[in-house]
Amino acid sequence: MLITRFYSIFVPLNTQLMSALIKSSLARKVVMALSGLFLVFFLGQHFVINVTSVIAPDTFNSWSHFMGYNPLVQYVLQPILILGVIVHFVMGFMLELQNRAARGGVKYASYKGSANASWISRNMLISGAVVLAFLGLHFYDFWFPEMTYKYFGDNPENATRYLEETVHKFEPIWRTVLYIISFVLLALHLLHGFASSFQTMGVNNKYSSAIKTFTKVYAIAIPLGFILIAIYHHLNPITH
C-alpha cells in the first residue's frame, strides 16, 4: 500500500525531473556508461596501488602518502571521483524507476526473464547496491579516518603508517568476508557493465569481440586480485 503510494507520487516526479535534467534517453545512457568507465579506470589504478601492499610495502607507503597529500589528487581528482560515484548510482536508481514504470500499470502474470537475458544483466541494481553498501563501509574504514587524521587534530605527516593501518583492517574475519562478497558482486556488475558501456558508446566494429573478451577478463581478474590481496593480509597480520 505504502509502496504503491510512493510509486504513484514519486515515479512521475522522477520522470519529470529526469527529462528536465537530461532530455534524451541516449544521453542518460552515455552518462551511465562514461561514469561507469571512469569508475572502471579508477578501479584499475586502485588495484595497482593495492598490489604494492603485498609485493613492495615501501612503495605502498610512499604512493599512499602521495595520494593523500598531493593537492591535485586531494582537491581535484578526489572530488571528481566522489561526484562520479554519486552521478553513477543516482542515475542508476532513477533509470531503474523509470524503466519499471515503462512496463505500465499491469505487470506480466508470467515473465520469463531468464529465457532471454542473463541474471547479471537483469540485476545491475542489486549488484550495484551491494557495491554501494561496500563503499559505505570502505569510507567508514579508510576515508573518514584519513580525513580526521589529516584535517582535524594535530597529527604529523607520517609516510610510513599506511601499510600497517591497512593490514590491521583485515584482521577481523567479518570484514575480510564482507570484502570478498562485495568484490564478487562487483565482478558480476562489471561482467555486464564494462562490455555494455562500449555497446552504449556505439562501438561496433572489427575490434568489438576483442573488447568484449578484454572486458570479461578485466571484470574477473581485477576483483579477484582485490580478494586475494585481502585474504593475504588477513592471513599475514602485522604483529609487534
Partner: protein, 248 residues
C-alpha cells in the same frame, strides 16, 4: 492434446482485466497456436460467450500483428518466429499455457490480447523515410552502386516487422531494437544520408515521448526478435545519434 489455458480478458481499453482459465481438449500437435485459439473461440461462440480477441493477419510471419506473451515470452518459447508460426508440438499434453497481451505503458491494451502499437508508427513517421525527387527526373535507385556487404546489412535491418516483441521481452520495455533497426536501414545506404542528422534525433525523441524505457543492454530483445535483428543496430543508432548531436 489437453490444455489448461490462462488468458487475459479485458473488455475494453478502460476496463480492468483479469486472467480467466479455459480448459481445452482435442488440440492437434500440427495446429498453429492461432488455430488453437480459433478452436477455443469457436467453442466460446457456440456457447454464446464473447470470443477472445487477438490480432492476426498474414499468418505466415510477415505482418507482425499476432503479438502476445506466451508463458512469459513474446511469441512463446521458440526462437525466430511469430505466434502464427508457433505450433502446438512445442507444448506437451496437459500443459498450462499463460497467454497475455504485450505489456508496456506505450502499448495500451485495447481489448483482451490486442494492444495499440501505433507508438511504433509515430516513431517511424518521425524520421523513418527518405526524400526522393519525384519531379520527373527521378534517379533510378539502382544507378547508385552499393557494396553487397552494406546492402545485405541494410536489408537485414529492414526485415523488422514492427511486431513489438523486443519491447515485450525487455525488462525496461525499451524500444531501442525497433527504433535502431529503422534508423539503420537508412543510415547504411547513400539514399539515407540527406536526412541522417535529423532522422536519428527525431526518431529517438519520439521514442522517448511515447514512454518506452531506457535500454540496459540485457540483449533480451535480440533473442526474442522473430527476424533476428541484432544489437549491432542499437550500437549503430547510438553512434549515429552522437554524431548528430555533435553536429548540433
Amino acid at each position: 492434446m489437453k490444455l489448461n489455458l490462462k488468458i487475459w480478458r479485458q473488455k475494453d481499453a478502460t476496463s480492468k482485466g483479469q486472467m480467466v482459465e479455459y480448459p481445452l481438449k482435442g488440440i492437434e500437435e500440427d495446429m498453429s497456436f492461432l488455430e488453437m485459439l480459433d478452436v477455443l473461440n469457436e467453442q466460446l461462440i457456440n456457447k454464446g460467450e464473447e470470443p477472445i480477441e487477438f490480432d492476426h493477419d498474414c499468418r505466415e510471419g510477415i505482418c507482425g500483428t499476432c503479438s502476445m506473451q506466451i508463458n512469459g515470452q513474446p511469441h512463446g518459447p521458440d526462437r525466430l518466429i511469430t505466434v502464427c508460426q508457433l505450433h502446438m508440438r512445442s507444448f506437451n499434453d496437459g500443459d498450462t499455457i499463460v497467454i497475455e497481451p504485450f505489456r508496456a505503458k506505450a502499448f495500451p491494451v485495447i481489448k483482451d490480447l490486442i494492444v495499440d502499437r501505433s507508438a511504433f508508427d509515430r516513431i517511424q513517421q518521425a524520421g523513418g523515410f527518405v526524400s526522393v525527387n519525384t519531379s520527373g527526373n527521378t534517379l533510378d535507385a539502382n544507378a547508385i552502386p552499393i557494396g553487397k556487404d552494406i546492402a545485405d546489412t541494410a536489408f537485414n535491418s529492414a526485415t523488422c516487422i514492427g511486431c513489438g516483441a523486443c519491447v515485450a521481452a525487455c525488462k525496461n520495455a525499451s524500444a531501442m531494437l525497433f527504433t535502431s533497426a529503422k534508423v539503420s536501414q537508412f543510415a547504411l545506404l547513400p539514399q539515407g544520408q540527406v536526412e541522417a542528422t535529423e532522422r536519428v534525433q527525431n526518431m529517438v525523441r519520439q521514442m522517448d515521448i511515447e514512454g518506452f524505457g531506457n535500454c540496459t543492454n540485457t540483449g533480451a530483445c535480440e533473442v526474442e526478435c522473430p527476424k533476428g535483428i541484432s544489437l549491432e543496430n542499437i550500437a549503430r543508432m547510438n553512434k549515429e545519434y552522437y554524431k548528430a548531436s555533435l553536429k548540433g
